[in-house]
Structures are given as C-alpha cells and as structure tokens.
Amino acid sequence: MTEQFEPRIVGFLCNWCSYAGADLAGTSKLKIPSSLTPIRVMCSSRIDPVLILTALLQGADGVLIAGCHPGDCHYNEGNYYARRRFAVLKKVVDSLGLESDRLCLSWVSASEGQRFAEVVNEFNEKIKKMGQNPMKKKML
C-alpha cells in the first residue's frame, strides 16, 4: 500500500444511545474519523446480521454495531439478543476463514460522546492496520 489507506466503516448505531452518543461527540467537537458512515437504527436488535454481511461482502473495511449498554436497552432486552446474533455471525465468518476482526460490537450510551469517539478511533486504527477488505475487489 503506497498511498495512505483510508478505510470505509459502516456503523449501525442505535437511536437511543450510540447515535445520540455520536451526536454528542460531534457537538463536543471531538475528532471522529470521516471513514465512518453512520446508519441510524431503532435498536441494536433491529439489525439482521445479513445486513452486516452485506456490508462486509460489498467491501466495507469494517462494520461497527453500537447499542446501549447491557441493561439499558430502550426495549429492555434488545441488545442481549443482538449480542447473541453477533456471536453467531462472528462464528460463521470465522469458521469460513474470513476476517471477523472487521466486525465490532460496542456499547455506547447517549452521554458517552467521549467514549464514542474513542471506540470509532480505535476501530479505525485497527482496520487501518488490517488494510483493505480483500472482498472489495472480489466478485461474490
């Protein structure tokens, strides 16, 4: 990689916490990498893992799923289900020898603007080290 690699990261952010956390990070003028494309969802449990797979197979370098902290889900238990599905997804990806490190599940509350910025920055750095998603240029 000669040029500086700028990842593309898709972020599925829960409306009630992480999306608000992202907002807060923004209004607090914290630095958030431009690599993140946020998608607002009503709860971390509303994301069918197939959508995460779709992003990955289409070449997203990383996919971030962020929801409310366990116990704080607006719908009480959505994030617990989301965590199970995420575990299955990671296992499917792993068992086929693909890079499950490109997937990240994190909990960020509405008041954690700082944390949101850190989570995204860290993930972004990790993805930068991993380099481009090899699926980007593959016919699938």
């Binding site: 069918d48 893992p49 197939v50 797979l53 779709t54 197979l57 289409q58 070449g59 366990p70 116990g71 238990e77 617990y80 289900y81 965590r83 199970r84 599905r85 995420f86 575990a87 299955v88 997804l89 990671k90 296992k91 499917v92 990806v93 792993d94 068992s95 086929l96 020898g97 693909l98 990240c104 599940l105 994190s106 909990w107 944390r115 850190e118 989570v119 860290e122 993930f123 090899p134 699926m135 980007k136 240029k137 593959k138 016919m139 699938l140």
Partner: protein, 379 residues
C-alpha cells in the same frame, strides 16, 4: 423428549426379528393400528416406478406391506412431511411418523419454529446406518437396494453420503419411540421409549419394559465416538481447504443460484426467504455502481451472501441431514460445509439441534452475563 432422562437408566422391550427388521417394524405398526394407539402411519413407500421413495399417510394396514421404514435414500426430509400435514393443526388423527433420527431432530426444530403440531404425532426413529445418495436409487435401483440392505447388517458406511459417514447422531433418540438394532444378537431388536407418550404406547401394546438396554447403549456410544472423531477430522480438513476468501469463493463459484439447497432444507421454512425477496433484486443502476466499485459484478450476484446468510439464519438448527447436498445439481458439498459451520455455531450455546423440545432456540433467549468475548474491549 426429556434431556434429563438419562438413557442409561432406561429400559426397553425386546422383540424378535422374524423375517427382517423392516418387516418386524411393520408388524409393530400394524399392531399399533389394531390396538388403535394410532389411526395412521406416515412412512416411506417405494414409488411404483421403483426408483425412489415418498412419504405416504397410510390408514389401511394392508398397504403397510409395501412400506419401507428405513429406505436407502431420503427423498423429502421427514420433518417437511410432518410439517405439511400438521402445520395448520391436527386434532383428529393420531399419526405414527416413522423417520430417521435426523428427520426427527429437524421435526423438533420445526416445532420450536411453530411449523408443526406434534400433539397427536408419535415420532418413531431407528438406528440409522446412513443414507445413500438420492441419485443412486434413480440410476441403479436394484443395486442400491441390495447395497443398502447389506449395509444395514454390516453397518459399513462406505456407500453412504459423505455427511452420513461423519454423523455421530445416527442413534440419537429424540422422538417418542426408538427402534434399536445395534448391540443385539441380530435376531431381536429393542424398542426404547423416550417420552410418556412412548411409554403409554408400549403399555397399550402390552410390551413390558423389562430388558436392560445396556448392550445397545454401549454399541451406540462406541459408534458415535468413532463417528465423532471422523467428523472432527473431516471438518478440520474442510476448514483447511476453505481456509480463506479465495478458496471459499472457488467452492461457491460453481453455484448456479437455483436455491435447491434452501428449498429442500427442512429448517428453511420461511414463507418468503429473504434471498428470494425483492430485497436482493437490484436496479441496473445498482448493478452498474457495484460493477464500478468492484471492477465487475457477478450475475446473478450475492451467491456468497446467500450461503453465509443462510448459515446465519439457520445453522443453529441444522441437523446435518444432507438433503441440501443431495439436491445440489452442482455437487457442491453444501451439507458438509453447513454441518461444519453448524457444529461451531451450536457449540457457542451448548446447543444440539433437535436434541430436545424443551431447549429453546438459542436466538430466542439470552443470558445477561455472557459472550463478553465478542464485545469490543474498549474501556
């Protein structure tokens, strides 16, 4: 169907084999109809052309003569048959459904998915020596019949489908009654009840549970340990063979997107599969955009997404029955790949598809304190 009911404490009835095990099972079923413990039997029948089998619902016991409790090949997965008869409810008819263990396990998964009504169903399984490739029967019916007949005696699985050769659950008792042929003197067989329903039936048929099934247990354990070892070897070979993106794409690049594998899968029971829906139909602009992004785009697209999506949606309930592989016109080892992935996803939750009705589907339940290893470590 009780997980806690230890098989080792269980007793069974021993019955003599008169002419063949298949005939003895049929006698037992006739006896059941005579004693009104069930009104009908769902059982495979050889089709008139002789080159395949089909499940039929038999009320007239003389028709049972032509039935094959254990046919060499699996045409429609039994769980699909049970579901198609009982999905809308089944109040009036007690049906004994005679199937392989993997078909019963799929039936149990379908029940958890609200696709059957088991109230009046009696699930009867038997020790399964494996299933032969579905086309063997079409191509060489008589030879297949003979080979299979021999295999039921020798328990040699070399003619069986690859996924059967690595099946460690070929004697798993998950239904109401199980017919055990392993660990016997070949002149008799066991009937092992696995539920109150099963016990009641044996009582009504005046088959006392006096005999220890230790010899069966022992043989089953031996057999499944051997198979499990082979399963792990085959899966790890397969995993090495897939190993990375290029190899994975190579394997699925032969796929012709017919979706047969999904359509015959007993677990895939959604009325409209996501992968048949408009969600995966794209406009020409989208095709062009993707072609631009990726350099080119395969048409039809999303083949890998289909397979991985299906693994995501159903591998927790996959019973490794092999129907998908039988149905694949391109000879892609679908069932071997799915069984490998399924073992891994099911292990996450210490879940075994179809082991017992009371175990909830892993994605329909959760623990508050679990799986922290998949959470982002930050903070």
């Amino acid at each position: 169907m009780n997980k806690s009911a230890e098989t080792s404490e269980k007793k069974g009835a021993v019955l003599p084999i008169k002419t063949s095990i298949q005939d003895s099972i049929k006698d037992l079923l006739k006896n059941g109809i005579d004693h009104c413990v069930f009104d009908a039997v769902m059982i495979p029948l050889r089709v008139p052309a002789g080159d395949s089998f089909s499940y039929v619902l038999i009320k007239n016991k003389s028709l049972l003569n032509d039935a094959f409790p254990l046919p060499p090949t699996m045409s429609v997965q039994g769980a699909k048959a049970v579901s198609s008869v009982t999905r809308l409810g089944n109040r009036n008819m007690k049906i004994a459904a005679v199937m392989r263990p993997c078909e019963i396990r799929a039936t149990i998964e379908l029940t958890k998915l609200d696709q059957t009504d088991l109230e009046n169903i009696i699930l009867i399984s038997m020790d399964c020596p494996g299933t032969m490739p579905i086309l063997d029967m079409v191509n060489e019916p008589e030879k297949t019949m003979t080979l299979f007949n021999d295999a039921t005696k020798s328990w040699d699985d070399t003619q069986m489908r690859p996924v059967c050769q690595i099946c460690d659950k070929s004697s798993m008792v998950a239904g109401d009654l199980h017919i055990g042929t392993l660990g016997t003197d070949k002149k008799s067989f066991f009937i092992i009840p696995n539920s109150t329903k099963g016990k009641d039936i044996l009582e009504k048929l005046k088959l006392p549970l006096t005999d220890s099934i230790d010899s069966w247990n022992k043989k089953v354990k031996e057999n499944s340990e051997k198979k499990l070892k082979k399963r792990q070897e085959v899966h790890s070979d397969l995993k090495n063979k897939i190993g990375d993106l290029t190899n994975l794409l190579d394997i699925f690049s032969q796929c012709i997107n017919c979706h047969n594998c999904m359509r015959v899968c007993p677990i895939c029971s959604c009325r409209l599969c996501y992968f048949d829906s408009n969600k995966v139909k794209h406009s020409s602009e989208e095709y062009l955009q993707r072609a631009k992004d990726k350099g080119s785009i395969r048409i039809l697209p999303d083949t890998t997404l289909f397979h991985m999506g299906r693994m995501m949606h159903m591998s927790l309930s996959c019973v490794s029955c092999g129907s998908c592989e039988d149905a694949c016109p391109m000879s892609i080892p679908v069932a071997q790949i799915f069984s490998m992935v399924a073992d891994e996803t099911q292990r996450l939750f210490d879940y075994v598809a179809g082991r017992c009705l009371e175990e909830p589907l892993p994605l329909r339940t959760y623990k508050e304190d679990e799986l922290h290893e998949v959470e982002d470590v930050h903070g």
